[in-house]
């Protein structure tokens, strides 16, 4: 009896784990989505357009950028190209998740791909050894739900949170990123090296190129360099022991 009930129970439990892991993202998205809804309204978008953008695009930085560009009456093609450039960083995250997922169904993979953001990627990567579709499902339900609902609410209410809270809550996603990564940085030298190198590179690159590219370039260069350096180090240590 136990053996035939276990699979269902197990995936339900993994889904619940995903929901729980999504709580800090839901909190962190709230002030940003409220602001998005508010600015969308003042920019002159309809309620349908504002919520529609959160439903179909679901990528914060590019949505704010699109509002700015719409307000400046930029052409559709320019807005779409700029969106592509800002969001291309998700390509790297998707490739990294692909390396770690145990999901084999292409349809499920295509579905969970829609929910890959900086935040869901970070939470999934640092919480799970093997990333299950059920976990991503719970995680995306929370984060996507928060993003869409608070976008709409920001539009309807036409106001964000009280100013002090709005400002202090803007730290939430960064605090979450720190909370996710610090335990690994304590344990693993390699993780620490990757983190520091990439942070420095991104800070320098951000002076010269848009942030989407700065993240891509910093991530790629540090991931390759550190992998190569560790390969050499391991080889040397191996030889020293012979």
């Amino acid at each position: 009896m136990l053996s035939y009930q276990t699979p269902v129970k197990k995936s339900a439990r993994i889904f619940t784990d995903g929901v729980k892991a999504g709580i800090p993202i839901a909190i962190g998205y709230m002030p940003i989505a409220l602001t998005f809804g508010l600015i969308a309204r003042t920019t002159g978008l309809t309620f349908m357009d504002a919520v529609g953008m959160s439903v179909f695009v679901y990528a914060g930085a590019s949505q704010f950028m699109a509002l700015q560009m719409l307000a400046a009456e930029t052409g559709a093609i320019e807005i779409i190209i700029a969106t592509f450039i800002v969001n291309i960083r998700h390509f790297l995250m998707s490739a990294s998740i692909n390396e770690r997922t145990v999901e084999r169904s292409r349809w499920k993979k295509a579905a969970m791909a829609f929910g890959i953001t900086d935040e869901t990627f970070s939470v999934a990567s640092l919480n799970r050894d093997k990333i299950e579709a059920a976990f991503m499902g719970g995680l995306i339900l929370m984060s996507y739900g928060s993003w869409v609902i608070f976008s709409g609410l920001g539009y309807v209410v036409g106001a964000s949170l009280p100013e002090v809270l709005q400002k202090s809550m803007s730290i939430a996603l960064y605090a979450m990123f720190i909370g996710l990564v610090v335990p690994s940085l304590k344990k693993e030298r390699k993780a620490l090296a990757l983190f520091i190198l990439s942070a420095i590179l991104c800070s320098v690159f951000s002076l010269f190129i848009p942030f989407g590219w700065a993240i891509v370039a910093a991530t790629l260069i540090s991931s390759v360099t550190i992998e190569w350096a560790y390969g050499r180090l391991m080889k040397k240590e191996g030889e020293a022991h012979v």
Binding site: P24, I80, I81, S94, Y174, I178, L197, S198, S222
Partner: protein, 110 residues
């Protein structure tokens, strides 16, 4: 004024979804050479470094070139609280809430 906004939105949706979807659907995980596998496993730690820095210091201004002292101290204090809390291995919810709380107090005092 924005009758064509829905087309912009759908276009944005398509170009955002493609990079998210392609690697997951098109790459066979066991066809990736070992070195590249290692690189992809490094990505989360590198991404987090790049997502936190320099952005945590430029929440209001949006770029290092326009960063203010207010911006800098805001990120420093919130980041330090989150760092201490996570170094002590608090639950992530409390890491987030403690950073928000400290900055609320900081903003009220100033």
């Amino acid at each position: 004024m924005f009758s064509s906004v829905i087309w912009v939105i759908l276009g944005m949706g398509v170009v955002t979804y493609i990079p998210r979807m392609l690697p997951l659907v098109a790459i066979k995980a066991d066809g990736v050479p070992p070195f590249l596998q290692g690189v992809l496993k490094n990505v989360p730690f590198a991404v987090l470094g790049a997502l936190i820095f320099p952005a945590i210091f430029t929440i209001q201004s949006g770029s290092l070139l326009h960063m203010t002292w207010d911006d800098f101290f805001f990120g420093l204090i919130g980041g330090a609280m989150a760092f201490i809390a996570s170094y002590l291995e608090w639950n992530i919810i409390f890491v987030v809430l403690s950073a928000i709380l400290v900055l609320t107090v900081y903003s009220l005092i100033l």
